[in-house]
Subunit: 323 residues, 2 copies
C-alpha cells in the first residue's frame, strides 16, 4: 500500500508552495482571519484536491513546466473547498473536523461566516483573473453545486425513502463536482483537446464519488480517534449514506429507528449494529471500487508519466483506506 505522501511525490514541492501561498493570500490585514487561515491551511489537511489539480496539470503539460495559472487553479480549488467546509460546519454545528476544532467552535459564528465568505470571494476574484472564461464557468458551477448539495442534504435528512441514485446525485454535488470540474479546468489550462478534457472530467467525477463513498463507509468502520470526529455521526445527524441505504433493503427495523430519529435510549447503537450485520458496508465498498475503476479507465488516453501513474495510484489508495 502506498502512503498518501509518496503518492503525491511528483507534486510534493508544488504542494509546499501552495500551502505557503494559501496562508499569505488570506488577508494579512485581519489578525483573526489570519489565525483562521493558519488554522485551516496550516496543517492536517490532506490537500487531495489541489494535489489532483497539480497532478493533472503535470500529466497534461508533460515535458513543459506547469504555469502560474495551474498553481493558482489548485489554490482556488482548495479555497472553495475550505470555504464550503467552514460554512457547512456552522450550519451542521460540527465541533470537530479531522480531530481539530472547527473555525466556528474556536472563533465563533461571526468569524466563521466571514472567513467562509471571504474565501469564496477571494476564490471568485482569483478565478476571474485567470482570464479564461471556460475555467470561470467550470468553477462557478462547482460553487453552485456545493451550495445545492448542502441544501439537498438538509432536505433528505432522516428520509428513509432516499434512493441510491439520490444519494449519488447529492454526493456528486457535495464532493465529486469539485474533483471533476477542477480536473477538466486544469486540462483546459494545458490546452488539451476537448475529448481529453471530458476524460479528465470523468476521472474527477468518478474519483470524487469513490472518495466520498469511502469517507461515508469510514464513518461506520473507523474509530472516533482515527476519524477525528465521533464515529456514526453522519447517521446520528440524519445524513443517510450508502451503507445505511443498502442496509435498509435488508433490515426493516432500521427504518423505524431512523424515522423516530433515534429518540429512544439505545436506538443509535441498535441502528449501527443492524448496519454492521447487513451487506451495507460490503455493497458500499463494491460501489466505491466500481467508481475508482471507472475513474482510472478515463485516464487511458493520457500519455504515460509519473503524474499519470500517481493519479492511478491515488484511486487505488482511496480504496485501500478501507482495509
Amino acid at each position: 500500500m502506498t502512503s498518501a505522501t509518496s503518492m503525491f511525490n511528483p507534486v510534493e514541492a508544488d504542494l509546499q508552495i501552495l500551502a505557503d501561498n494559501l496562508i499569505q493570500l488570506i488577508g494579512n490585514d485581519h489578525p483573526i482571519l489570519y489565525a483562521a487561515a493558519e488554522h485551516l491551511f496550516g496543517a492536517g489537511g490532506k490537500r487531495i484536491r489541489p494535489a489532483i489539480v497539480l497532478l493533472v496539470s503535470r500529466a497534461t503539460m508533460l515535458e513543459k513546466d506547469i504555469t502560474p495559472r495551474h498553481r493558482r487553479l489548485a489554490e482556488i480549488t482548495e479555497m472553495i473547498h475550505t470555504a464550503s467546509l467552514v460554512h457547512d460546519d456552522v450550519v451542521d454545528e460540527s465541533e470537530v473536523r479531522r480531530g481539530v476544532p472547527t473555525v466556528h467552535s474556536l472563533f465563533g459564528n461571526r468569524i466563521a461566516i466571514q472567513a467562509g465568505d471571504f474565501l469564496f470571494a477571494q476564490a471568485s476574484w482569483y478565478l476571474a483573473n485567470l482570464d479564461n472564461l471556460e475555467v470561470v464557468k467550470l468553477l462557478s458551477q462547482v460553487i453552485m453545486d456545493l451550495a445545492t448539495g448542502e441544501i439537498q442534504q438538509g432536505l433528505n435528512h432522516f428520509d428513509t425513502n432516499t434512493s441510491i441514485e439520490t444519494y449519488l446525485n447529492k454526493t456528486y454535488y457535495k464532493a465529486a463536482t469539485l474533483f471533476a470540474n477542477s480536473s477538466k479546468a486544469a486540462g483546459l489550462l494545458s490546452e488539451v483537446p476537448s475529448a481529453m478534457a471530458e476524460h479528465l472530467y470523468g476521472y474527477g467525477r468518478h474519483f470524487g464519488l469513490a472518495f466520498q463513498i469511502v469517507d461515508d463507509i469510514l464513518d461506520f468502520t473507523s474509530s472516533t480517534d482515527t476519524l477525528g470526529k465521533p464515529a456514526g455521526s453522519d447517521l446520528k445527524s440524519g445524513n443517510l449514506t450508502a451503507p445505511v441505504l443498502f442496509a435498509l433493503e435488508e433490515k426493516p427495523y432500521l427504518e423505524k429507528l431512523i424515522e423516530r430519529q433515534f429518540a429512544q435510549e439505545g436506538d443509535l447503537e441498535q441502528a449501527l449494529a443492524l448496519i454492521q450485520d447487513s451487506q451495507g458496508i460490503q455493497r458500499s465498498r463494491e460501489l466505491a471500487a466500481h467508481h475508482a475503476k471507472v475513474a482510472v479507465e478515463h485516464l487511458a488516453t493520457i500519455p504515460p508519466s509519473d503524474s499519470h501513474q500517481a493519479l492511478i495510484n491515488i484511486a487505488d489508495y482511496v480504496l485501500s483506506r478501507l482495509y
Copy 2:
C-alpha cells in the same frame, strides 16, 4: 421632490420583470429557500441597485433596446446585494431590516447562511455565463470588496480613532463598490468607450458614497418607525459613522462614552444628545451633498435621455431623504 417611484419611471416595467425573475431564479426545488427568496425579493425592497443598472443600460443604449444581458446584470447585482445583507444580518445578529424580520430571525441561521451562499453561488454562475470576462472581473471585485468591508467594519467597532478617510474607505467597500462596478459593467455591456465606462464607475462610486452617508445620517435623525429598525442602532453596535466621527472633534466626552461601550445606564442617550448638539449631522449632510454633486458631474459626457435625467434625479432624491 420626486418620489422614488416616478424617478424609476424609465425602467418601471424592467423592474417588474426583474422582481418576478429573481423569485423564479432562486431554487424552485427548495420550499424554505423559496420562502426566503419571496421574503427577500417579494416586497419592500427599494431595488435602487438594479434600477441604476437598468437606467445606465438604457442611458447608454439610447434608441436601441437593452439586452437580456443588461437585465441579467441587474438581477446579479440585486442577488449579490441581498446575499451580503443576509449574511451581515446573521453576523450582526440583526432582528429587523426595513421593518421586516430578517431571514435568520424568521428561518434560523442554517437557512440564512445557506440562502446567502446559494445567492452568491447563483450570482457567480450567472455572472460567468454573461460571457464577458471584464464584467466577471468587475463583479467579482464587488464580492471581494463586500467581504472586506464587513470585516473592516468589525475591526473598527468602537474605535474612536477612526478617521473620516477610514470611514469613507469602508463605506466604499460596503456600499459604493456595487454601484460603481455595476454601473461600469452596464456600460461595458453597451460597449461604451472606455472613458465613458470610467465616468459611469465615477457616478456609481460617488452616488454610492452619498447614498450610504445619507443612510448613516438617517440612523440619527429618523424615528424607529421610519427606519424599520431601532434608531441609533449603528452607534449602539459600535459602528461609528460620519455624524459620530465629526461630533467627536467637538465633544471630547463622547469619546469616553463610546470607549466604555455605553456600559452605564443612560450612556447611549447621552451620546445621541451630544451628537445632536454638534455639527456632526450638518457636516455629514454636506459630505453627502458633495458626493452627490460629483456623481452627477460624471454624467456630463452621457447623451441626454429620460434615463440620463433619472440618474440625475436619483442623486437629488437621495439627498432629499434628509429633509
